[in-house]
């Protein structure tokens, strides 16, 4: 029962299905299982560590400078971007040519930036949840939600790209309609 409840929460708070954040990246990720895994992991790293950075930004930034949040979040993701590339370079120089592409794709997109804003907007309102741990957990949950949505799309990817779908609707258009139907089902759960 606990797992079902958690799954429902993961679906209903899913950034892709409920807020369409990172949909373009999802379409790229769903194209191959290898891409899916690496992009999902990289996005989860960005959302988790990035959420920790946003916690400190929210803590230190006075309310009257709220418009500077985007600039500071971007700077935080930028630093993380460089750090992750550096770590990957030293960890596996031979595979760096491939792995860096996933970092490039995952750094600045709506999935990551949208998660950072959503997490900070949601958690800063609750004094008990306004901790770095809560921010990081929420960031990790958003990354997990991305993985879940990617698997939902991967399950139907071949059929949506098959010749049985009219040529004009094959691929992206069919995937958008499919995600719309899944999103509608998820909406019914809320």
């Amino acid at each position: 029962m606990f797992l079902i409840a958690e799954l429902v929460v993961l679906l209903t708070t899913n950034l892709i299905l409920s807020q369409a954040l990172g949909t373009s990246t999802l379409f790229i990720a769903a194209g191959s299982r290898k891409n899916l895994l690496w992009i999902a992991i990289t996005i989860t790293v960005f959302t988790t560590v990035g959420s920790a950075a946003t916690y400190f930004i929210e803590l230190l930034l006075p309310d009257q400078y709220n418009d500077f949040r985007l600039l500071l979040y971007t700077a935080a993701v930028g630093i993380l971007y460089v750090l992750l590339l550096t770590v990957l370079y030293f960890a596996d120089r031979a595979g760096f040519g491939t792995t860096r592409k996933y970092v490039h794709l995952s750094a600045f997109n709506c999935a990551v930036m949208g998660t950072l804003f959503s997490v900070s907007d949601r958690l800063s309102l609750h004094p008990t949840l306004n901790t770095m741990g809560s921010f990081m957990i929420a960031g990790a949950e958003a990354g997990t939600g991305f993985i879940l949505a990617a698997f939902i799309l991967t399950a139907a990817y071949r059929r949506l790209n098959s010749v049985s779908v009219p040529a004009s609707f094959r691929g992206f258009p069919a995937m958008l309609v499919y995600l719309g139907i899944i999103s509608m089902a998820v909406y019914a759960l809320t």
């Binding site: 369409a20 971007t74 930028g78 460089v82 004009s168 958008l176 719309g180």
Partner: protein, 211 residues
């Protein structure tokens, strides 16, 4: 691809939204009324045009990741005065759009497409091409907003229409997904009929550098 790119491609042949699937989140979630659409069109047009233009002065020899970070920082800085002005023009709309207003500032056209496409052109041609890519987004955004507002609320710019059918779900994100998917299909059919078949399976975000 032997076909020569035209500066007008962004509007029809390689539409920002319908072909490249870039910047679709604001359309899906916020594109449910024409007023929301106008506010997002303003934000997207101003931020993207200024950011790509300023970004074209960034030295080409810098590493790819550094350039992408600089482009994102430029657009985040351009966002600040743009939002201040938007609060004057659309005081009621901006809170409703919320986070999507900010996300427009880090869109793929600025962070990915600019480096892979616009900055390989001469500046004059780049400006014209960029204008049509922005126009491509604007047209789709306003069209989808209009259709969804009529279907969901039976209004146009807040003025009540006498429509028989009301589909309130069209205002929800799932309505946005479905309408956008149908429009993508119609767009592809249109291109296939008029000779410029758009059957590629890639989104704009894929065009990342190897460097």
């Amino acid at each position: 691809m032997s076909k020569k790119n035209s500066v007008f491609d962004g509007l029809l042949g390689d539409n920002t939204v319908l072909s490249s699937l870039m910047v679709i989140s604001p359309i899906i979630v916020c594109g449910d009324t024409v007023m929301n659409g106008i506010a997002l069109v303003y934000a997207f047009s101003v931020i993207t045009f200024l950011s790509v233009l300023i970004g074209s002065f960034v030295p080409k020899k810098l590493p790819y990741a550094v350039k992408i970070i600089i482009y994102a920082l430029i657009s985040s800085a351009v966002f600040i005065p743009t939002k201040m002005a938007a609060e004057e023009f659309f005081p009621d709309i901006i809170p409703r759009i919320g986070v999507y207003f900010m996300l427009v500032a880090v869109n793929s056209l600025i962070t990915v497409r600019a480096e892979a496409f616009f900055y390989r052109m001469k500046r004059g041609r780049m400006i014209i091409s960029l204008f049509f890519y922005i126009l491509g987004f604007d047209v789709v955004m306003l069209t989808i907003s209009l259709i969804r507002e009529i279907l969901a609320y039976s209004t146009v710019c807040g003025r009540v229409m006498d429509a028989d059918i009301l589909i309130s779900g069209m205002a929800m994100p799932f309505g946005g997904f479905i309408i956008l998917g149908v429009m993508c299909g119609i767009y592809r059919k249109f291109l296939s009929v008029f000779g410029s078949d758009d059957t590629r399976g890639d989104g704009g975000d894929e065009n990342v550098s190897d460097s």
